[in-house]
């Protein structure tokens, strides 16, 4: 086991995000703020990032504008809040192939990318489907796939198909046929403070676990390319991995994460939450010590 410092960094946000998309069945219940985040894991030996964000140019900008995304900043700025450089990231785990999670691979030029093989192979399967079924492929773009080809040609792409420990204490677990064909979630086992679960988009917010009505009955996400059953069962897996403690599960679109953990809002309005700090590591959310 290793000890990782863990930060959740906000790189953009949607100020009016439909609750019905976050919580299945909550149609016409208004909107909420949904941050766009990824996670940074730092040990003595590795600097890893879970998800990459997107590039606010070309189709990333078009999609972001259509969703009402604001305050986007590139990893250079977002990791800069931590005093870190994207070029030093050696490991990039992509939870799934949607633009806001996998659209920023180019910003981490030296990272080995870890991805589920099924998240790729299903696009080969889908090309044989008639046009009327191509909705199934409509949440990604050839641009994202071509970045992965590039990384594969560089010998820096590892495709996974089963639970795999990719670095000491960091495991990728398949979540197939859930939010997407080949999603994965990530666990980090820290010697110092135990296990953390990074949900990807298999949960958007804490309410997915605590229930849309606060009754403790899981409410799955509102956008599912696989099956609702698999989504709920994967939530149960994550719930058990987290010791049934929702604060040990990290959803990347949850605004309440800033109040659950020590956090700081930077001058560009973006937040950083400090989930875990390894011995000898300096806090990035203590304004007096922060490096910005």
């Amino acid at each position: 086991m290793a000890d990782y410092s863990i930060w959740v960094v906000e790189y953009a946000r949607v100020n009016e995000f439909a609750r019905g998309l976050l919580l299945y069945g909550q149609w016409n219940t208004g909107t909420t703020i949904a941050p766009y985040c990824y996670a940074v894991l730092k040990s003595d030996d590795h600097l890893a990032v879970i998800d990459s964000g997107y590039n606010h140019a070309e189709f990333g900008k078009v999609l972001a504008d259509s969703y009402g995304v604001s305050d986007w900043q590139p990893p250079e700025v977002v990791l800069g809040h931590l005093g870190l450089d994207p070029a030093d990231v050696d490991t990039l785990i992509l939870t799934h192939n949607h633009f806001d999670h996998a659209g920023g691979v180019e910003f981490f030029p030296n990272a080995r990318v870890y991805f589920q093989e099924r998240e790729i192979s299903k696009y080969l399967w889908a090309v044989g489907l008639p046009d009327r079924l191509q909705w199934l492929t409509s949440a990604t773009d050839p641009d994202l796939m071509l970045w992965l080809v590039n990384r594969m040609k560089q010998g820096k792409l590892t495709l996974l198909s089963e639970e795999t420990e990719i670095l000491p204490g960091i495991r990728c677990l398949p979540a197939h046929d859930t939010h997407t064909f080949g999603s994965q979630y990530v666990t980090v086992e820290n010697e110092r403070d135990g296990k953390w679960v990074f949900a990807g988009d298999n949960a958007y917010v804490y309410e997915n676990f605590t229930g849309a009505h606060g009754d403790g009955r899981f409410t799955p996400i509102g956008l599912i390319f696989g099956s609702v059953e698999q989504c709920v069962l994967t939530m149960e897996e994550m719930w058990q991995q987290a010791g049934q403690d929702p604060t040990r599960i990290v959803p990347f679109h949850e605004q309440n994460i800033w109040s659950k953990f020590p956090s700081r809002r930077f001058d560009d309005s973006l937040h950083v939450a400090e989930l875990s700090l390894a011995d000898g590591e300096t806090s990035r959310v203590d304004a007096a010590l922060a490096t910005t």
Binding site: V14, E16, F17, A18, L21, T31, E58, F59, V62, L63, D65, S66, Y67, G68, F99, E117, I120, S121, Y123, L124, A126, V127, D131, Q134, W135, T137, S138, A139, T140, D141, P142, D143, M145, L146, L148, V149, N150, M152, K153, L157, L159, L223
Partner: protein, 109 residues
Amino acid sequence: MSVTLAETDALYRRYKALALAAGAALVLDAPVDELAEAVGALEEEAVGTHCAEPASTLRRLLDRARAGEDVVSDLEDVRASHRSLRRRIWTTQPCEYVPCCARGPHEHR
């Protein structure tokens, strides 16, 4: 040659599905013969449309992959032609991504 918006959109959708599959095949190091033939057929049908050049660029990439040649430089060409096509298509057609427009109607037509 006059091509309707609907025909252009249909060609784009075929092109996009093939481009996604081509990328997937290259990542997986899977055979691309059938894909190359399908892209070649699209290239012929797309003559005179915005989809012709991107289809041609994609077909060249697959031909080189089929021949076992290095395709790294071709990836940039495919990406550039894809981006150009996508920009053109989105001037007349709504963005096809889901969950598109989470907060309201399309604003980028």
